[in-house]
């Protein structure tokens, strides 16, 4: 059918003009939306960042889930169920954001799962680690979620609107997660000597993973780092190292106040530089872990794959129903 609105000039810009306009919008603090034009590198950076974030939430449900039935009271059982449910919920929010970004490439959630199973899509180092005791469940809630809060709040103002909105929801729930973790740790810290030993052991076990969580300080350390691009395009504001320093400032005094000993005798705050000095985690080990060579990497991936494949018939069956 003839369309007289074509008498109006279509909004046609050259690639250069589009890019200039895009940069200008980001500079002015405007939010980029899913349907807006964006340069491929921005889209690809977001896909990589948010798919890793999203799939980490999904994989992150697994280590904690191990302690859901074992939680030592009815109230703890309820609390940790709600917490793990939130992790899955965060995965849902983030995967939806990525799925919209991947649309121009014709990729869907199924492709993300395949990427995970074939190792193309990585997940956070902490979720490759074993959870050995109930104290680990508390430690994840308190310090791993504490670290996650620091990295996620850093992106609340992200230039990509859908991500910023998902993070708003996520961070609001993370406050509950942190308190859920604190509550478990506090009960153990104020408990019997065995309970106290449990959390010290857990801290000893998790400390290195916590430092790794923020990623290497620069790409010289591991050979890859997207932090420069993400800062330039206002997806995040702080560097990995700045975030790690924030973590020390917020959590070191709290950890010590409970009488726990941080397993790093060199850890100290340097008044002159205003920086925390600390023993570097083993970054080679970090690389091995996120590439799937962590202590529980294979088991967790197998678990995810088994459940995904076992349930394929359900998705096939309902694909046939009337939408």
């Amino acid at each position: 059918m003839y369309d007289a609105t074509q008498l109006f000039e279509p909004v046609q810009l050259t690639e250069e003009e589009k890019l200039a306009r895009f940069k200008e919008r980001i500079e002015q603090g405007e939010k980029i939306e899913a349907d807006d034009w964006m340069p491929a590198f921005y889209r690809d950076t977001l896909i990589k960042l948010i798919s890793m974030h999203g799939i980490s939430e999904i994989m992150g449900a697994l280590p904690e889930k191990e302690w859901v039935p074992k939680a030592p009271s009815l109230r703890r059982k309820l609390g940790i169920m709600a917490k793990v449910q939130d992790e899955m919920g965060h995965g849902q929010l983030l995967l939806r954001v990525v799925e919209d970004l991947m649309k121009p490439y014709g990729k869907t959630r199924g492709d993300l799962m395949d990427d995970l199973f074939t190792g193309r899509l990585k997940f956070h180092n902490v979720f490759h680690m074993p959870t050995r005791s109930w104290a680990d469940a508390g430690m994840i809630g308190w310090l791993v979620d504490g670290a996650a809060i620091i990295t996620q709040t850093n992106m609340l103002g992200a230039s990509y609107g859908p991500y910023a909105r998902a993070l708003q929801r996520i961070c609001a729930e993370e406050v509950f997660h942190a308190q859920h973790g604190e509550s478990i740790i506090m009960a153990l810290a104020e408990g019997t000597s065995e309970q106290r030993a449990m959390i010290q052991e857990s801290l000893d076990e998790w400390w290195e993973s916590l430092l790794m969580f923020f990623g290497p300080a620069s790409k010289e350390t591991t050979g890859t780092s997207k932090q420069d691009v993400t800062i330039a395009y206002k997806i995040r504001t702080k560097t990995n190292e700045e975030l790690r320093q924030n973590f020390f400032t917020k959590y070191v005094p709290r950890i010590r106040s409970l009488g726990l000993v941080i397993p790093d005798p060199t850890l100290r705050f340097d008044e002159e530089t205003g920086q925390w000095e600390y023993a570097q985690p083993d970054w080679t080990k970090f690389k091995t872990i996120i590439q799937g060579g962590g202590p529980r990497s294979k088991e967790r991936l197998d678990l995810r794959r088994t459940s995904y494949e076992n349930n394929a018939w359900v998705r096939d069956a309902l694909a046939e129903t009337k939408a």
């Binding site: 999904i58 449900a61 697994l62 889930k65 191990e66 302690w67 859901v68 039935p69 074992k70 939680a71 030592p72 009271s73 009815l74 109230r75 703890r76 059982k77 309820l78 169920m81 709600a82 793990v84 449910q85 899955m88 919920g89 995965g91 849902q92 995967l95 109930w134 009960a187 153990l188 104020e190 408990g191 019997t192 065995e194 309970q195 088991e299 197998d302 678990l303 995810r304 088994t306 459940s307 076992n310 349930n311 018939w313 359900v314 998705r315 096939d316 069956a317 309902l318 046939e320 129903t321």
Partner: protein, 261 residues
């Protein structure tokens, strides 16, 4: 209340508490493993609600002088448990942390059949002669609409889909009915439970369950397999599955029962 009557009341409360406790546990084992992420989040709420209901019943037992609610949930051995066999059954072969081969058809059929039964029991409990139980029933009833709609939708949709799905659903229904015989049984104190009007008669409730479930089955062209009772969980006769479940559920609590967790 005579001592005998108190025992009968406690027995009914244990049945209700243990049922929801195990049902919620089996639901929670699915966390992270459901057919899709949105369903994972949604069904986790049902497991949480059900654990909440169990906690309310254990609380009633505590108030009746049976001991601390957490201890009742975590310490009692298999032969002391009064739950139905259906809720203690594993979701499928394989340990939940390693390679669980969970069966979603079994989950859907078990949850639907159980939720219909639960709704019928809750309605009957609303006029219980034991006031605190009647009050709890009115509260629990509020959350059952969603549970029922949820599992009914899954049940219906899977039955109306592919031939593969239908076969899996039929197999699951067979398994569920094989264990269903003790669902409305009140166990050794059954007669007194009914005489005290704590809840309506087990025969009436069972009839209601058939009446409720039949029209949908007819619509879906499904034949209900014969209901069996190979064991009576209400009398503490359980399968090995329950021992394993209890070992997991109590693992941390039993490290130190006197500690605060």
């Amino acid at each position: 209340m005579t001592e005998q009557e108190r025992t009968a009341l406690a027995s009914l409360l244990y049945q209700l508490a243990d049922d929801d406790f195990l049902y919620a546990y089996r639901g929670s084992e699915w966390l992270g493993l459901a057919p899709h992420i949105e369903e994972d989040v949604a069904s986790s709420s049902i497991a949480q609600d059900s654990m909440g209901h169990a906690a309310m019943y254990y609380q009633l037992l505590e108030e009746l002088g049976e001991g601390n609610a957490d201890a009742l949930a975590h310490v009692r051995l298999a032969h002391e448990r009064k739950n139905s066999i259906l809720v203690e059954r594993v979701n499928g072969p394989g340990y939940y942390m390693e390679k669980p081969e969970y069966d979603w058809a079994f989950a859907v059929v078990r949850n639907y059949c159980y939720t219909v039964a639960k709704k019928i029991r809750i309605d009957a409990l609303k006029s219980s002669s034991y006031e605190p139980l009647a009050t709890a029933a009115v509260k629990i009833n509020m959350e059952l609409y969603y549970h029922l709609l949820h599992w009914q939708t899954w049940f219906t949709q899977l039955y109306q889909s592919t031939e593969t799905a239908r076969q899996k659903m039929d197999a699951a229904l067979e398994k569920v009915l094989y264990d269903f015989g003790d669902m409305f049984d009140y166990g050794e104190h059954g007669q007194l439970i009914e005489e005290m009007r704590l809840i309506e008669g087990q025969g009436i409730l069972l009839d209601r369950w058939y009446q409720t479930i039949t029209p949908l089955l007819v619509e879906l062209n499904v034949t209900l397999p014969e209901m069996q009772m190979t064991r009576n969980g209400r009398d503490g006769d359980h399968t090995e599955d329950l021992n394993d479940a209890l070992a997991t559920l109590g693992e941390v609590y039993l490290i130190d029962q006197t500690a605060t967790w």
